[in-house]
Symmetry: C2
Subunit: 997 residues, 2 copies
């Protein structure tokens, strides 16, 4: 292609374009101005860039001069940090000219940064926006206006957003009558409505979740159609913006439904944006064009490259998903040209808006349009307001039809928008940076991206992901519910599991099933009449049998060695991976866990298997101690003996599997006692291990009543290790019992106990509430708050209290409550009647101790309890001290961060905790002072992943090392040192690792 | 020097010499012969060489064809191992020609290796030796005869050795009358007695110990003078051999005293060997020559290079001592020439025997003698029998006066001698290998060693030790008692400490001394009337005070951070290092620990300080978990809180310091309760920490009666960690008490408990008894067996039983018993009257349960108990099960290794254990099956060093990770994971360690 005549023409046009604007630079790079200087510094100094962008992000929250000064100092005042003079003056406080100057400088910094934002935003309110629009139009540009806003976390906010659009449209309707059209005729360019708006789906519905595709689509349309109706009424155009990849398919579906519905199908004023950087877009564009053709519905596409590249890449990496975007910029550029051609070829059915600041991309679109004889009224060009001014000017000269994407809104969301624009301008590969700052050779700048790619491939720098060594642990990817086939797998699995309800589950001891007379029924907590299974119950006789079986299995299992034992775990992981949806479905029905979280639980079980397998191989290879010649000292680890695993029901597969897998791979046969309410899921663990071929007696399934066999199991002299996860009270009982040496007991028992939590999230006055609200909601109410890591206290610093609480309560009010089976429900029933009673008791108490802000109505029938938020709580209150294990959130108001930390630490527990703050100093303070095993900075306090977030607390939250961490297996083993004297007759072979001469 | 005319002459002569023998090769390298083939293989294949030499070593113990076959298979039969065909045939058993051939081949291998030994030994008894001597003399050589023997581990063996010399001399006396002299006159060469013997000092006294210089010298002379007297009686010459460096100064002293004593001073028939490879030898030769001149006593020196290079180097490295030998062969060669010149220059007072096979060295001696006009009757040449035959032949031609060093004796010690000779022949740098195998260019072979050295220096390959990175942990060197100044430091320190006895020691809490009314006296167990100190005793009130002080100190100490806390430990180590002799002396007097072991205890304390300091720095640096972009997860560790350290008296400084240092450096303030009988030593630990400047309250010294404050301390809710070392009974009590959660207790207590042992050493039928006896004796009786690691059972496989027991009992009978103050005593008193009573009770029991083989008489006055060895013990006996903690050794006889391991494992304990075996398979079996925390192969079971031998057991021997090992500090800390979400507004700084695209 690179030698085609088209390409030559594109190159030619690009160069001419570029030369026509030479000497000009976008204002953001203008070094004569403050912003230009700071941008220049950012591009030379990555750490400063990070600090600057973060500071920009937090700036709107800094409402007092004290707070402003403090943040400037924290962000830019570190010793040895390279920052521009202009920042230093502020940061040093008492710099040249004393304190006053410092204060003044801080105000200058603020006003300059606010100025930067204004560069990209047409106004903070409708009035000023209209003024700018007027100016834009005067300059010969059309516009599309977009309302900036905070993230929409509640239906109230979504409704408000809708309201704002209606207001905007009304104002435009009023104003536009005074405008003259651009070009000839009534309409702009002769065919385009004078008013054009852009809307973001995520702003119009607070509960979008790819897991629940249908409700998400419906929720968006419910409000978007109101906006569109209004737009049509005034003959305005509307374009649906494309946001994160997560919402892509939902957005496409919203577009199709809106476009095709009876009410709107005769109007072609609705467009959609598509992102060329997505690997899906080739297919998506083709499909959409085909759909338009099939339905005879003209459409309109704004093609952009995409603005969330960093985010999409990081999120995919964090989740173990395929990266949805191209990882080499030239690939995106090439895709943009490919998509441009495809759309232009279909110009009869699709209007094309070319959204790019890249001169090569623009020129390509122009040349292709020419080559394909696309009529002028079938395409236009769009650039962002405030960006690449020389380009837009050049474009206007050459193409005529240029629309500015023009956001307006508050400074607060404006700053987030600013960060995105700054990133775009300053990225190493940015066309603008390359063109106007780096002054890359024009030949290179304008070359066919396919050629750029070819060169990159030849140099070995391809877009392929870095290869990981095969044996490195990686987490099992989370379920990517954007994929329809994954959603279908869930519904299929639920149907399949429902076919298998009500079976009887025998014990399994020494490789044999054993049916007992005593049994309990495990039920669906959302519909207690539905029996999940009948589970046999062990008496002390069966415990004796199981201990004997384990004893028999011990020496053979121990002798197998670390690698061979690890192989069984890997095999079990493979098996679980294959059944992941079925295993998840069992959890949805037996414990009422929501789809995504059920899947995450199974994924965590797989992680434990894979991680502990690798850990055992690591720990199992003898470590040479010292380097003295003439002796070889090897430190190794050997199994303790028989392990009792006493598991909870809340992470019914993950924790059961983690504790068991650790014990097993370390060489200890296991007696596994699942929790009563999740015994059927416990049986699925047995099935996995059976299928993996574990020798008889290595894993024994012995559900039973704690009152009947609990103490007996713990005190059994032949049980050497006890892994327990559950309540503090039971934990204390086990620890005490296990410490008493029984007659015939061969060794001191090791107890690994994970107990409760009373976890707090601190909201600092500069917290990013968009993030904080969502994360608090999830941490407190996901799986009904039945996680030891769940947030049960939120501690809010007073300046931000009202705003936070208001949004929080609204967000919590927006959640759907009902059976976990239905993915539209955010919250379901609690585990059983006992739990229900206990939690209801705490809710009554909360009403006495504080002021209830929210107590949701819940469905009847299942074991539901109201989602409750109570404020006015202080450390003296019982609801601030005791673990409730339900969806009850205590709100505590404090004056400052120190009190927040003090209150956070004021319980017996020390499991998890979070802080949302954008103050580097406050985050550091939390690192040191916030006394919990798992501390999270700017994220929620649940959802620890194996290896990445080794999990476990101290104080009364537990003893023992963190699950999923590098010290965990040590607890199931005894260290052994073998020292061989290798000198014989004065002669010692010298090893390479010896400390020798 | 290299251009001097002398050097040219030496080169010239060397080359001529070499050419004169060209075409001949020493028989050992003769590839036509079996030995030559095997040697050839060894030199090409280092692993085979190791196996071969080890096999040679064990061969004399292989008395049955089954045993022979098994060892051949184990040594040479491994898959993938490269061994010569001739070995394979044996090793494969049923190889070509079936089993019979295999068996036959094994016999061939044995006879060939025995043949190798015979190459270097003139006979296995006097008769055959005399026959060979006759032949030697017939060939024109004189001789010096030496009796090979096993190591002398008892006075009985020393006496036997003396007897053998007397027999040899008698036989020679009888025979030599029939000999004709070599050369003219009655004497050989006209001046040399016909009979010449060489004696090894270590053979004549079993208790040589550099620590006790005087007794060692006296002990050797006592028997050596008898031999010499007999030699003089028949006008024979005698030469004292020089052995390991450890005995060098003792041997020189023996020589001087023998030479100068009234009885012998008029005779100059006594010579001594000196080793040029020792760095000391320049001084030693000068001093000895000066001494001879001062005393007007003509002397005689046999100069050799030295044959224990590997051993000396390894031992020095293992002990952290300066390497006493030159580490570059050319340095030794140059020293040999230097020493040769020095001796020849003094030929008026010193006769010179040049002992070398190196043609350059020999030629240098000849040329120097010529240059210095040394009379012919003032020097001779010596070579080893069986070595370098072409050289000896050439020498005879050129120099005339050549003496063969001619060992005779049993095959068993003969094999050890063979290994030494094989090493000498096959070392890479060996002159013989270079000359006759590698065929190195003659110019190089014969060049001045100074030139060789110069070249090596220029190439960067110098003799300097490899540099260690500064921050790498290395053990505090053991006391090198060969140094007179170190011995003096000990006597001085004892005198100094004795000046300071009887003081009163207050408690120390929160930086203040606190005197209590209750106190106890700590006494010298060897002389209970001697009060070491009066020690104040804490009541529960003082425990409350100390807990409060620790609580006050906690947050500041924690906040200090790992590196700063570690610095205090390093400082404490420096302080202890400076006071090492004084600290040792306190132990000698307060607990009756022998010098070397007292020093080792202080050294271990220093090691703990240095090691845990480094460990804390290692663990203190946050570890990044996972590599996902957009999050930084750091795993760190934080202190648990207040630690109680409950210490034993047997390692009074080391264990106290180790447990305290670990707790402290991890950030936990300590309440330290020393054991009653070692409370004054405990106070020295306080003094060290005080001098290091530990903040008040971080280390609190609270000695007290366990009955008064023990439970209170353990149960105190504010005590979060308990580090205990002591008996199993107390351990169980503490573990049980600590597990009960007290009201107000903030967290579950962590107990680190090292309890008892009932340690066994297994003696396999192919054990090297020379090593085994010494190590069993030391493991069982050093410090009176009062170590938790001490050997209290020796399990002997029947074929070797009689021989082992006989030598063991004789060795134990040879030990001196008395106060530890006197370094001649191997064993001292036990700690106190209670211990004495308990142990005496067990001795009574032993008499009932088994047959007492030895029950030594002991001094009266102190708390002595008889050293006791009892046989006929089986696992059912109480003395085979309970920890005695005294010098009582149970001997258990078993049929084979499997029973040995079964019996070794038949107690409740699992602390230490050893096996002496030269069967690779049996060693492997032990690695897997011998169920102890510290397993030693071919060494004793005590004396674990920090880092190299992390220490601690399982079963009822302890819980918790090994002291001095990489997991130890974890026990005093809680892990904390801090996960920071670094994404803000979709933008995450990418870290270098991220798993990024």
């Amino acid at each position: 292609m690179e030698n085609s005549s088209l390409d030559r023409k594109i190159m030619q046009r690009s160069k001419e374009f570029f030369q026509s604007i030479s000497g000009e630079a976008p204002s953001i790079f203008n070094k004569g101005w403050w912003m230009g200087k700071v941008m220049d510094w950012s591009m030379k100094n990555e750490p400063f860039k990070v600090q600057l962008f973060r500071f920009v992000d937090v700036l709107p929250y800094l409402n007092t001069s004290e707070s402003l000064a403090r943040h400037i100092k924290e962000y830019f005042g570190a010793e040895g940090q390279e920052v521009p003079k202009v920042m230093q003056w502020g940061a040093k406080g008492a710099g040249i000219g004393g304190k006053l100057t410092g204060k003044l400088m801080n105000m200058v910094i603020r006003s300059n940064i606010e100025g930067m934002a204004k560069q990209f935003i047409i106004g903070e309110n409708i009035k000023s926006a209209l003024k700018t629009i007027k100016k834009i139009r005067k300059d010969g540009f059309t516009f599309t206006v977009d309302i900036l806003g905070e993230a929409t976390v509640s239906e109230k906010e979504a409704a408000k957003y809708l309201e704002m659009y209606l207001e905007l449209l009304a104002a435009l309707q009023q104003n536009c009558t005074k405008w003259t059209s651009i070009g000839e005729g009534e309409l702009d360019w002769g065919y385009a409505p004078l008013v054009n708006i852009s809307v973001k789906p995520s702003a119009l519905f607070s509960q979008i979740d790819p897991m629940d595709f249908e409700s998400s689509v419906a929720g968006i349309i419910k409000r978007m159609e109101v906006v569109y109706r209004k737009a049509l009424e005034m003959n305005a155009s509307m374009r649906i913006d494309m946001e994160h990849y997560r919402f892509k398919d939902i957005t496409l579906e919203v577009y199709k439904r809106m476009r095709a519905c009876e009410e709107f199908r005769d109007h072609s004023n609705l467009g959609i944006a598509m992102q060329s950087y997505l690997r899906d877009t080739d297919t998506d564009v083709k499909d959409l064009l085909q759909w338009a053709r099939d339905n005879k519905l003209p459409i309109s596409i704004r093609l952009v490259k995409g603005a969330y590249w960093d985010y999409e890449t990081v999120v995919a990496k964090q989740n173990g998903w395929e990266i949805p975007v191209y990882t080499n910029k030239a690939e995106s550029d090439a895709a943009f040209e490919r998509h441009t051609r495809l759309i232009l070829e279909n110009n009869d059915i699709c209007y094309f808006a070319c959204g790019s600041h890249n001169i090569r991309s623009i020129s390509a679109a122009m040349e292709m349009a020419q080559e394909l004889n696309v009529p002028q009224d079938r395409y236009e060009f769009q650039v962002l307001y405030g960006m690449a001014e020389p380009v837009r000017k050049g474009l206007l000269n050459v193409a005529g039809r240029v629309r500015l994407y023009a956001p307006y809104g508050d400074l607060l969301p404006g700053m987030a928008y600013l960060v995105r624009r700054l990133l775009e301008n300053t990225a190493n590969e940015s066309f603008l940076r390359q063109s106007f700052v780096e002054e890359t050779e024009v030949e290179r700048l304008m070359e066919n991206p396919l050629k750029t790619l070819e060169r990159a491939f030849l140099q070995g720098g391809t877009s392929l992901n870095k290869e990981l060594p095969e044996d490195r642990f990686t987490n099992q990817p989370g379920a990517d519910f954007t994929k329809a086939e994954i959603r279908k797998s869930f519904t299929d699995a639920l149907a399949e599991v429902r076919q298998n309800l009500g079976k009887t589950y025998p014990l399994h001891i020494g490789g044999k099933d054993i049916v007992t007379t005593d049994s309990i029924s495990s039920v669906n907590p959302a519909a207690p009449d539905e029996i999940i299974g009948e589970v046999c119950q062990a008496s002390i006789n069966e415990i004796d049998l199981a201990v004997a079986a384990a004893r028999n299995a011990f020496s053979g299992w121990k002798a197998l060695g670390p690698s061979d034992r690890a192989r069984y775990l890997s095999k079990a992981a493979d098996i679980a991976r294959k059944k992941i949806y079925t295993l998840s479905a069992w959890q949805v029905l037996e414990v009422g866990k929501q789809w995504g979280q059920a899947h995450a639980d199974v994924a965590e079980a797989i992680d434990f298997l894979e991680y502990y397998a690798r850990e055992m191989i690591r720990l199992g290879s003898p470590r040479r101690m010292g380097r003295a010649p003439g002796e070889i000292n090897h430190l190794t680890y050997q199994p303790k003996g028989i392990a009792a695993v006493i598991a909870p029901w809340n992470f019914p597969l993950a924790i059961s599997c983690g504790m068991s897998a650790a014990a097993i791979v370390a060489g200890n046969p296991v007696l596994y006692k699942p929790a009563g309410p999740s015994s059927v899921i416990g049986h699925t663990l047995l099935e996995i291990f059976q299928e993996a071929g574990l020798p008889p007696g290595v894993f024994n399934y012995v559900p039973g009543r704690g009152s009947v066999m609990g103490d007996y199991l713990v005190e059994h002299p032949d049980v050497s290790a006890i892994a327990f996860t559950g309540s503090m009270e039971v934990g204390h009982h086990i620890i005490g019992n296990a410490a008493t040496v029984q007659s015939g007991q061969p060794q001191i028992k090791r107890v690994v106990a994970e107990m409760g939590g009373k976890n707090a999230i601190i909201i600092d006055d500069d917290a990013d509430l968009d993030e904080a609200i969502r994360q608090v909601i999830y941490s407190a109410f996901a799986f009904q708050g039945q996680k030891c890591s769940a947030c049960s206290r939120v501690i809010v610093v007073s300046p931000i209290y009202e705003k936070f609480i208001d949004r929080l309560v609204q967000a919590a009010s927006s959640l759907a409550i009902g059976p976990a089976e239905d993915p539209s429900n955010y919250m379901g029933p609690v585990i059983d009647e006992n739990a229900q009673k206990t939690i209801l008791g705490y809710i009554e108490l909360a009403k006495q101790e504080g002021r209830v802000l929210l107590c949701r109505e819940v469905p009847s029938g299942g074991y539901y309890v109201p989602l409750t938020i109570v404020e006015g709580i202080t450390p003296e209150h019982i609801v601030a001290q005791e673990e409730i294990f339900g969806p009850v959130l205590a709100v505590m108001k404090v004056t400052d961060i120190d009190q927040a930390l003090e209150w956070a630490n004021s319980t017996r527990f020390g499991l998890t905790g979070s802080i949302f703050s954008r103050s580097p100093n406050h985050l550091d303070k939390a690192r040191i002072t916030f006394n919990v095993g798992n501390l999270y900075l700017n994220r929620g306090c649940t959802g620890a992943l194996v290896e990445r977030h080794p999990f476990g607390g101290f104080k009364m939250s537990g003893i023992g090392s963190k699950a999923g961490g590098p010290d965990y297996l040590l607890q199931f083993m005894d260290p052994k040192l073998v020292s061989e004297n290798t000198i014989r007759r004065g002669f010692a072979p010298i090893e390479e690792t010896d400390d020798w001469i």
